[in-house]
Assembly symmetry: C2
Homo-oligomer: 69 residues x 2
């Protein structure tokens, strides 16, 4: 079990949270996603470690940005 | 043809605009809805005048508020 906290910028409301949750939740192996809009913190639990580029691409495709790295 | 500009508060992003557009666009007789997120201005064109309470209810149900009146 892996749990990583990412920071995503650009989220402003619950719809944004839903979009990011759906995007990351659709990645293979993701078991749970929780999002805090105000802080931009996105906690992702997965069976195996996720390739950071997959997470970044999912966030980008949803219209947001993964901070750092 | 009727065109009225409402002010809707609480919208913060494109998803919010989509939600309000969909909610008001679903009202009977509505022909076109355009939304400016920053100003909250929502322009609604309809064949006949819309009951304000219908517009208010649609906006409320979507999670936003119709300003004034």
């Amino acid at each position: 079990m892996n749990e990583i906290v990412y920071t995503v910028t650009g989220m402003s409301c619950g719809h944004c949270a839903d979009a990011v949750t759906g995007a990351i939740g659709g990645l293979t192996g993701v078991e749970h996603v929780s999002v805090e809009v105000d802080s931009g913190q996105v906690t992702v639990r997965s069976a195996d470690p996720l390739p950071i580029e997959s997470v970044r691409a999912a966030v980008d495709d949803a219209g947001y940005r993964l901070a750092g790295a």
